[in-house]
């Protein structure tokens, strides 16, 4: 029992498994409270069965706590990955992991308890305590990642570095962690303001107001930048896992640092007199960040092709393509980043360009669908990238690896593609004629997300059964660190 506890809460892979399981449970239960499940009447059954106390006027507040509960677990997973992949002092590694684990569990368990099961104020206090611990873990992680510590200087010229030897990839991790901690304050400060008066709002509901308060701007900036930073961090993690290096790495890392800083400055600028040009600064910052991700994609796909066709003298296009997609777990993360441009960036840019000509002529509710749709899609894509990496982490091989990897890619892309068409449907179909199309899209979304959750559930059940075995896979995972498995 003690060994299993040590595995689950003392090893990188165990900690990640626990966090994924926690998210899966929350997603499965709370996913039944909205959308088609609500239409079918499942919501009412779940509410009664679990004894939830749902106040109509508190919906927005509940949802904010739900988002935070899931997001904190995702941030914890990324933190485990960072602390498992990068060198740091053992004290920091342990302290960060303890703090963030206790933090996200407190935030999730007591946050959801407070939001959905009556207002026990002790629960709210523990939820806030959890968030504070996560913040403190972030501060410690930033210190641990200090790229100017000579102990972490690098000499290998294959990687982006300064003349002195400062590891620019580590600097990118450091920048992302530091800006994440600062950006958290942009949510925490207005959060305490609104929480004090028990007033809450969802940003998508006030998007058309020409004048917003500083606190409202701060919230809007916070939610955008935190998701963007989670996206930047997972890109860096995937790069480290695949051992990103060479010329592309040397260009990408400075771009990643620059993009991250400028992007943050733009977002923070929304609460300053720079607000009118904040969006322009954000675009300027987003471009180098996305270019860096593109360079990772180019480098990694080229690597897969070279490795997969090394035995062939003159590989054909199809052979190259086959080599590129041979391993869905390694090809998948960067493919998902590319697909993200269809569901998120592309939609966002199109909306920005055509906002006054098209989207502002529609009702605000239509715009809300697009706004919430595109960031739900981005969140889901980040989740699938984590799951793809996790599949490699737990050593999936052969047909199971193919099935798991392609299952995640196909199911998520099917669902998110349908979500994107749903968001944009008014461009090509009228409200009165949309129902059959909406039905079809909903089937695709439900099929994709439903079976994705089933796939995840199968993995979770398998891992649960494995935990009961004296010499299960978990015993091997206890001693393996992510850094040892880079580019294996």
């Amino acid at each position: 029992m003690k060994e299993r506890f040590n595995y689950l809460f003392g090893s990188t892979k165990g900690l990640i498994l626990v966090a994924i399981a926690m998210i899966a449970i929350v997603t499965a239960i709370w996913g039944m409270l909205s959308g088609p499940m609500a239409e079918m009447g499942v919501r009412e059954v779940v509410i009664k069965l679990l004894g939830m106390k749902i106040e109509q006027s508190e919906r927005e507040g509940r949802i904010i706590i739900l988002y935070h509960s899931i997001a904190m677990a995702v941030v914890a997973i990324e933190t485990y990955m960072v602390t498992g992949l990068l060198k740091m002092k053992e004290f920091y590694k342990t302290a960060v992991r303890v703090l963030i684990t206790v933090g996200y569990m407190l935030a999730m368990i007591f946050g959801m308890g407070f939001a959905y099961f009556g207002h026990n104020w002790a629960f709210h206090g523990l939820y806030i305590t959890g968030l504070a611990l996560i913040f403190f873990a972030g501060v410690l992680l930033t210190i641990a990642l200090n790229p100017w510590d000579p102990a972490y200087f690098i000499t290998d010229t294959n990687y982006a570095r300064t003349k002195k030897g400062v590891d620019l990839e580590r600097a990118a991790f450091f920048t992302t962690a530091l800006t994440t901690v600062i950006s958290a304050l942009f949510g925490a400060i207005p959060g305490s303001y609104y929480g004090h008066g028990f007033e809450s709002f969802l940003a998508e509901n006030i998007i058309r107001y020409p004048e917003k308060t500083t606190m409202e701007y701060s919230i809007i900036g916070h939610l955008h930048i935190m998701l963007a930073l989670i996206g930047i961090m997972i890109t860096l993690i995937i790069g480290r896992w695949l051992d990103f290096k060479g010329a592309w790495h040397k260009i990408a890392m400075p771009l990643m640092i620059l993009g991250c800083i400028v992007l943050n400055l733009g977002v923070w600028g929304v609460v300053t007199p720079l607000e009118p040009i904040a969006h322009m600064i954000i675009y300027v910052g987003a471009t180098p960040s996305m270019l860096a991700a593109l360079f990772l994609l180019i480098w990694s796909w080229n690597k897969f092709i070279k490795e997969g066709t090394a035995h062939l003298a003159k590989p054909t296009f199809l052979q190259k393509l086959g080599a590129m997609v041979r391993d869905p777990l390694k090809f998948g993360p960067t493919w998902q980043m590319l697909f993200m441009n269809f569901t998120t960036s592309g939609i966002g840019i199109f909306m920005a360009i055509k906002l006054d000509d098209i989207f502002r002529l529609w009702p605000a509710r239509e715009e809300r669908i697009e706004l919430t749709g595109h960031w739900h899609a981005l969140s889901a894509i980040i989740a699938t990238i984590i799951l793809l990496y996790y599949g490699d982490m737990i050593g999936l091989k052969g047909k199971v690896r193919q099935l798991y990897g392609w299952g995640i890619i196909f199911l998520s892309d099917l669902a998110l593609g349908a979500v994107t068409i749903f968001e944009m449907k008014r461009l090509f179909i009228s409200e009165a004629e949309q129902q059959p199309l909406v039905n079809m899209l909903m089937y695709m979304i439900d099929f994709g997300l439903g079976f994705l959750l089933v796939l995840l559930a199968v993995v979770m059940v398998w891992r649960l059964i494995d935990l009961f075995k004296p010499k299960g896979r978990w015993t091997e995972e206890m001693t393996h660190e992510l850094a040892q498995e880079v580019a294996k």
Partner: protein, 298 residues
């Protein structure tokens, strides 16, 4: 073989999703017994406004018990056409609107004085028909709320009779009364309280045309061919203040540079969360939809 079957099945499903919707599919006809010409009195005084229950007050006013019906709107069009208040140009009914204040703020639309579209005539969802001389109503829709009407068309209707569109404060007070209830009838919502998305009313078929409007005053506690409704009046006796169709609000530029008009009440096309009294939707005043109607105050 399996792959072929799967591909064909997907293709068939995709084609089915592209099948045209019969916008004139037969609909049940019910007399709800609610008089659409009746008015409710709302006394002056304080009430709780918005989700966070700010204390606000209004003067006394009267508000229509139901949304303006298609028949009422057709009658207005005939009268207004006869006296020259409106005109028909192409496939539009036009009327004069004196314009909005304009501040040149980002995303603000400039609404100038001039003739604006009240209703489109050629849209297949339009239930008011024009034969070149008279406006009539498509059979079965007489007691349904008037939809496919722009804010100008709603404003023009109320103006014509010396009334006006309600302000947001007036609308919310009429829907809520003086307590903090989220729905006009009380604290919780059931499927037979109102017409909302997938609420399974007799006018809905989610496989084909989806949700359609219900006659005004439909949710009054009566049973219609076995479909039992709940009496869902607001504290002042108004029907359909949640669901069925969104309702245009009269406020012009409630915030400087905000050229949209509020829409309140949720509709047949939205989930129950949008039926909560304080929820705001908005659209530019030239917008029209099968899910948007209005009522007047005086």
């Amino acid at each position: 073989m399996k792959r072929l079957f799967l591909t064909l099945s997907l293709l068939a499903a995709l084609l089915a999703s592209c099948a045209p919707v019969d916008l004139n599919a037969p609909l049940p006809v019910y007399d709800t017994g609610v008089d659409p010409t009746s008015w409710a009195q709302v006394p002056a005084g304080e009430f709780l406004f918005g989700q966070h229950e700010e204390v606000k007050s209004t003067d006394a006013y009267e508000i229509m018990v139901t949304d303006v019906t298609t028949q009422q709107y057709a009658d207005f069009l005939n009268a207004a056409l006869a006296d020259g208040t409106i005109k028909v140009e192409g496939n539009s009914v036009l009327g004069y609107y004196p314009g909005d204040p304009f501040h040149g703020i980002k995303h603000e639309l400039e609404i100038k004085a001039g003739d604006w579209q009240y209703i489109p005539l050629a849209d297949p969802s339009q239930r008011v028909k024009f034969d070149g001389t008279r406006f009539t109503v498509q059979e079965g829709y007489e007691n349904h709320p008037m939809t496919m009407v722009t804010w100008f068309g709603a404003w023009g209707y109320c103006q014509y009779y010396g009334w006006r569109l309600p302000s947001e404060l007036e609308w919310e007070k009429a829907a809520r009364g003086t307590d903090a209830r989220p729905f006009p009838w009380g604290w919780e919502i059931q499927r037979n309280n109102a017409n909302f998305y997938a609420s399974r009313d007799p006018f809905e078929d989610m496989r084909t045309f989806g949700s359609r409007s219900t006659p005004v005053g439909f949710y009054n506690g009566n049973a219609y061919d076995g479909y039992q409704t709940l009496d869902s009046r607001s504290p002042y006796g108004l029907y359909d203040m949640a669901g069925n169709v969104w309702q245009w609000i009269g406020d012009v530029q409630p915030m400087e540079g905000f050229s949209d008009r509020w829409l309140k009440g949720g509709s047949k096309d939205t989930y129950d969360m949008d039926l909560r009294i304080w929820v705001r939707n908005s659209a530019p005043p030239m917008y029209f939809s099968p899910g948007v109607g209005f009522r007047c105050v005086r």
